[in-house]
């Protein structure tokens, strides 16, 4: 699980990809996912994954990107098994090479999805994402909630560790016992955590009041997103490629393995 999370972490970068407008990056990721959604054929999905790999190389995040994909392996396998079993349970189906292959294709497609998701997060900082949301006219309340979640999650994680340490030091043993007793043992962890979150919210509310949050309806912004020529070119190219992909899918008679 943590390998996936680490793959999704935000790092500032200076490559061409990093410097693209986050909205363009979002569109590219979505188009790649949509392309993968259109096809089940292994060759096309592989092309999509290769494109994503190339993007990650240009963005110099290849190893981290690869780690996400690798980390998702358990999930992929789970999906494969679930889908295969589901197929078997359908009337008239039997254990055949065809059904195994179809389930594999589905699982493989999931890899393309996750990989494209990961590319986006590896090349976009939460700040940029916040700016993109604002530019897309998402109400500031929501953008602020998003940024705050990113801002305070590490702090809460530290707090959680701190509470676990303190309670273990009072003799609490979390590993022992059956499911029911184990759950009860989490009360000394969860109650302090909740209290901490509530207390923190109170302090934050004071601090934010003092920084005039919500004072004016028309909030201004220090930084604003502006599309550059590079952004427009990249965006257009992506849309063209995607259109080609649609055409091949629906209008051509070429059979693809």
């Amino acid at each position: 699980m943590s390998t996936i999370l680490r793959g999704l972490q935000f790092y500032p970068g200076k490559t061409v990809i990093h410097k693209l407008d986050p909205r363009v990056k979002l569109v590219i990721s979505l188009l790649l996912m949509a392309t993968a959604a259109l096809y089940l054929e292994v060759t096309i999905i592989s092309i999509v994954i290769v494109i994503e790999a190339l993007l990650s190389i240009v963005a110099k995040v290849f190893s981290r990107w690869a780690r996400t994909v690798y980390g998702a392996a358990p999930l992929i396998i789970l999906v494969f098994i679930a889908n295969f079993l589901f197929k078997l349970s359908m009337p008239g189906q039997s254990l055949s090479f065809q059904s195994i292959y179809e389930s594999l294709q589905l699982a493989y497609r999931l890899v393309a999805f996750l990989a494209s998701f990961s590319i986006f997060f590896l090349t976009t900082t939460p700040e940029e994402l916040g700016m993109a949301l604002t530019k897309m006219k998402v109400p500031y309340m929501y953008t602020f909630a998003f940024i705050s979640a990113i801002r305070f999650t590490p702090i809460l994680a530290e707090e959680l560790q701190s509470i676990v340490d303190a309670q273990k030091s009072r003799g609490l043993e979390l590993e022992k016992g059956n499911i029911i007793t184990r759950l009860r043992r989490y009360i000394p962890i969860l109650v302090p955590l909740m209290v901490n979150v509530l207390r923190r919210s109170y302090e934050l509310a004071e601090a934010i009041e003092v920084k005039c949050f919500g004072a004016k309806k028309n909030r201004t912004y220090l930084k604003e997103l502006k599309m550059t020529t590079k952004d427009w070119i990249t965006l257009s190219a992506s849309i063209v490629l995607f259109t080609v992909a649609i055409c091949i899918r629906y209008f051509s008679r070429i059979s693809i393995p």
Partner: protein, 263 residues
């Protein structure tokens, strides 16, 4: 708070002292409108800050005159980068972008943290976070800075750095300072005034030298610097007239003895 009557003039450097729970924090919150607007309870009497009656103006107006910095560095930084955090209040107040840019640059410079501009708020040390917190308040150009135990969670070295910066704000930029603190040794030599609060009442108010010399402040939970204790004993042993002074720091003490020696 009980029957508090106070007048603080522009440019003063005031220490609020007293034991935990005496009312220092409550008093501070009277100056920026958090009391009565943010807290429940009853307020009797009037507080005027820069001519504004705090009952008639909301905190977001008063905070532009009296900015507040809190104890916990993490619970007052909201953005992901230092620059964004300093701009936060100004964005909330709908300042035009150019003005925001100018003020952010100014604040970074005054606090001496230009090199932190693009850093993530998650990577900063405690002392750095507090400096950013002050910078983000300074961006609003307040005349008064209210500080509620800002060095509590810092190690002594970082605490001294922060206090030196705060002293600078008063000395060079004429910002009126009201600071509630337990760690007094670093502040006493510089402060123009100390107000000691006990049980919601102002029990002592005046020049730190006089107050510490003439009164026993220990029952009020105020820590007396060791220097002052040395001087008190010195006055008992030597002739009182030889010691008309009341040094508040090691440097002052040594200075006076040197001059004595020369004489």
């Amino acid at each position: 708070m009980r029957e508090v009557n106070l007048e603080i003039n522009e440019g003063e450097f005031v220490i609020l002292a007293g034991r935990s729970g005496c009312g220092k924090s409550t008093l501070l919150r009277c100056f920026n409108g958090l009391i009565p607007h943010f807290y429940d309870g009853e307020m009797i009497g009037k507080v005027e800050v820069c001519g504004l009656d705090t009952r008639q103006h909301p905190p977001y107006i008063l905070s532009q005159y009296a900015g507040m910095v809190f104890q916990n560095p993490d619970n007052q930084l909201f953005a992901l980068t230092v620059e964004a955090d300093i701009a936060f209040a100004l964005e909330n107040l709908s300042f035009p972008r150019d003005e925001i840019k100018k003020r952010v640059n100014q604040a970074l410079e005054i606090m001496g943290i230009e090199e932190l501009r693009d850093k993530s708020t998650l990577e900063l040390s405690g002392g750095q976070k507090q400096k950013v917190a002050i910078a983000s308040i300074l961006a609003m150009h307040p005349k008064i800075l209210l500080l509620d135990e800002p060095t509590s969670s810092l190690d002594p070295f970082s605490a001294k750095q922060l206090i030196d910066t705060i002293i600078d704000l008063n000395e060079k930029h004429r910002i009126t300072i009201l600071i509630a603190e337990h760690r007094l040794e670093m502040l006493l030599p510089y402060a123009s005034r100390i107000i000691i609060i006990d049980n919601g009442r102002v029990v002592l108010d005046g020049n730190p030298r006089e107050i510490l010399e003439k009164h026993d402040v220990i029952p009020y939970g105020v820590s007396v610097p060791r220097i002052v204790k040395v001087v008190t004993h010195l006055k008992k042993t030597l002739n009182n007239s030889l010691i008309p002074w009341a040094p508040l720091s090691v440097e002052e003490f040594v200075d006076i003895i040197r001059r004595w020696e020369k004489k």
